[in-house]
Symmetry: C2
Subunit: 164 residues, 2 copies
DNA sequence: TTTAAAGTTGACTATTTTGCTAGGTTAAGT
DNA sequence: ACTTAACCTAGCAAAATAGTCAACTTTAAA
């Protein structure tokens, strides 16, 4: 499991898609504008995502992309795996020349670590991230409202003190 | 927290170093030979690791590298952070033009994810990986011994049956 | 005290990946 | 027909990756 900007772009785009796909398909042009990712790069990414059955492409006017499944069934690990190269995995080519030294055991350790991260990301779905997103934005708005209340309160206090 | 081959090389090399640093310093030449990483590339990586105070370089004959601390105090996240670029972090440059859309919230989500992975890797030390390594090799040896026992058992059974 | 082994350092090169541009073709709606 | 948007292909510049080479320090041994 590699974690690079490419995977981040893919996850970002999929999040945007999930967030905006209530009724109509979402065009890559829209995603490109909102997330400031170039259209052509998005096309590359979605070409892979489509072939991995993560999204569906709908052609023609009114077309665009939709999620191939509900947001709670799409996990982050799969998105990243879809856009990344197949990951040549072993430097030691599978089996042969490897066990003569303990050289490749460290390699196994890394792979194990990588698998753990993969499992971790497999447990996180788009739906969960959207939920978190929602919670955050609500929290932010509540903070802003709270600040406004405080501001008004101070304002009235100030007025009150002037009237004494 | 990025996960690339560069970080993997660094962790692999550090594991090798930890594994072989009982008494003498370990030369990069040895690590290069064991882990099939080019000496010069190792030099680059260890240059960064040294500046990050992860290892100590000892010059002259009989020199080499040692861990700057005990293996149970060196975690994976720090190793990877040491060899990676400082990670420009935000595409949106800190604060300014970002909150007008919800564009950067997905970015925040990714950063949060990245932080979680970082925390996860911070909790894993070289010592733990070596332990796992040890357990695995012991398990492997035990498996082999077990197979030999079974083999011998079958063999004696065969001999016994022939004697009937 | 030379000398040479062992390590450090920096500059330099080749390859791969990344992100993007430009140009099309194909399918579907108006 | 015309437009819209997916889809495909080729290429390209910048960056990261992986490695090379040569100059320079330190220090143990001669």
């Amino acid at each position: 499991m590699r974690l690079t900007t490419k995977g981040r772009y893919a996850v970002t785009a999929m999040l945007d898609l999930a967030f905006h796909s209530d009724t109509k398909p979402v065009t890559l042009t829209d995603i490109a504008a909102r997330q400031t990712i170039s259209l052509s790069y998005l096309e590359q990414l979605f070409s892979r995502l489509r072939r991995a059955n993560m999204v569906k492409g709908i052609r023609g006017p009114g077309g665009g992309y939709t999620l191939a499944d509900t947001a709670d069934k799409i996990n982050i690990a799969d998105i990243i795996a879809a856009v990344d190269e197949p990951l040549d995995a072993t430097k030691c080519g599978g089996e042969a020349n490897c066990q003569k030294e303990q050289a490749c055991l460290t390699h196994d350790l890394w792979m194990g670590l990588s698998e753990q991260i993969k499992d971790y990301l497999k447990g996180i779905t788009l739906a969960q991230l959207l939920e978190k997103h929602h919670v955050q934005s609500v929290a932010k708005r509540q903070d802003q409202e709270a600040e406004q209340v405080i501001e008004i309160h101070r304002h009235t206090e100030l007025l009150a003190s002037l009237n004494e």
